[in-house]
Amino acid sequence: MRAKQVERCLNFCCETGRQLIKNGAEIYRVEEAAKRMLSAFGYSDAEVFAIPSCIIINIHDGERNFTKNVRILRTGSNFDRLDSLNALSRKVAAKELSIEAAEAELHEIMGRKGYPAWISYLGYGFAAFFFTLFWGGHALDAAIAFFCGLLVKAAMGQMVRLKANVFFIHICASMLLVTVPVLLTALGVHIIHTDKIVIGAIMLLVPGIAITNVMRDVIIGDFITAVSKLAEVLIIALAIAIGIAIPFGILRALTGVM
């Protein structure tokens, strides 16, 4: 019975940690949350080790050791869940919730629906729209950027579903969004500002969470995480750069001018 209780806490903490990482939490937050929750359950000497792709938790109970590790293969960014999971872990750490209630709440959070697809699309579109205005484009540029934003969302959604890797997703998405204004210019529409459109829309691809969390993990002293996240940032930046270069390169090869 006692062993069962330990396993239950272990499973709960692993799952909460995994979901925290998956939804954009810093790694130190995951480690701290798991430690505090286990301490609230009565296992104050538990060991928690987390990196962006894996969590290992060990609980020492009586004469036995219980260990579990979980892999995190794909990370996303759902700040609504992140906020709720963070609140849940605080409540558990403050001993306000029993393990049963905590499990039920975790289940409820994970079952919560995100924004409907059309609102997501509008979010992408308007972010690109206003960033183009922000960088000095005029209304027509912004309208084209809005379309590019929709395109990026559609491409990314589809490729994530097909389990493409991050590098390739970013190459294709940035290539697509650059192709639109380049094609229009090649067709003779010269009143648009290709640079403003591209800069406005490219903002959608910038790995903001990774950049921010790198610094926050460095501060804590978690350098393994920081190095692996930094690699992610650089690889994504490289992918975006390659994606920008391809359409321009093709246009240049075809027409000889830019």
Partner: protein, 156 residues
């Protein structure tokens, strides 16, 4: 500077609201605060236009944004990441990356190096701004916790 020059702040606010939806933030208050952080970061950036150094400008603007994000996080009892990620988006040097690639494709390697290094320096300034504020906030929080622990011990 005229009022017209501050129009980008409004665009930053709206663009950040779009980003808040992209990141699935649901609470209207959170969307508002995250977008406000973005607007503030750009406002500070604009106000510092005669500071002389672009890197310092990015650094200070990020520091103010991070300060706002940490404050909102404490008030709302939410992770600071939520406000910070969206708040610094207007400062991200996407333009630098684009113009660097533009120079590279055009075969102008000197310009590519200059713009590439500029972009890297701005990114580093943003990172430094975030880390300074977060470090100080963490130190303050740890200090408060230590004090509280001492007080509870005294009472016992």
């Amino acid at each position: 500077m005229t009022l017209q020059d501050y129009l980008p702040c409004l665009y930053a606010l709206l663009a950040c609201a779009g980003f808040a939806v992209m990141f699935e933030i649901k609470k209207p208050m959170f969307i508002l605060l995250a977008s406000a952080t973005g607007m503030v970061s750009w406002l500070v950036f604009l106000l510092l236009h005669d500071i002389g150094s672009e890197v310092a400008r990015y650094f200070l603007a990020t520091m103010v944004a991070a300060l706002f994000a940490e404050t909102f996080a404490r008030l709302m009892k939410a992770p600071a990441t939520i406000f910070l990620v969206i708040g610094i988006v207007p400062l991200v040097p996407g333009g630098g990356l684009y113009y660097a690639m533009d120079a590279l494709i055009g075969g102008n390697y000197a310009l590519f190096a200059e713009r590439g290094l500029d972009t890297a320096a701005f990114a580093a300034a943003i990172a430094a701004g975030v880390s300074v504020v977060t470090s100080i906030v963490r130190m303050a929080m740890t200090g408060r916790m230590n004090r509280r622990e001492r007080e509870t011990k005294k009472e016992e």
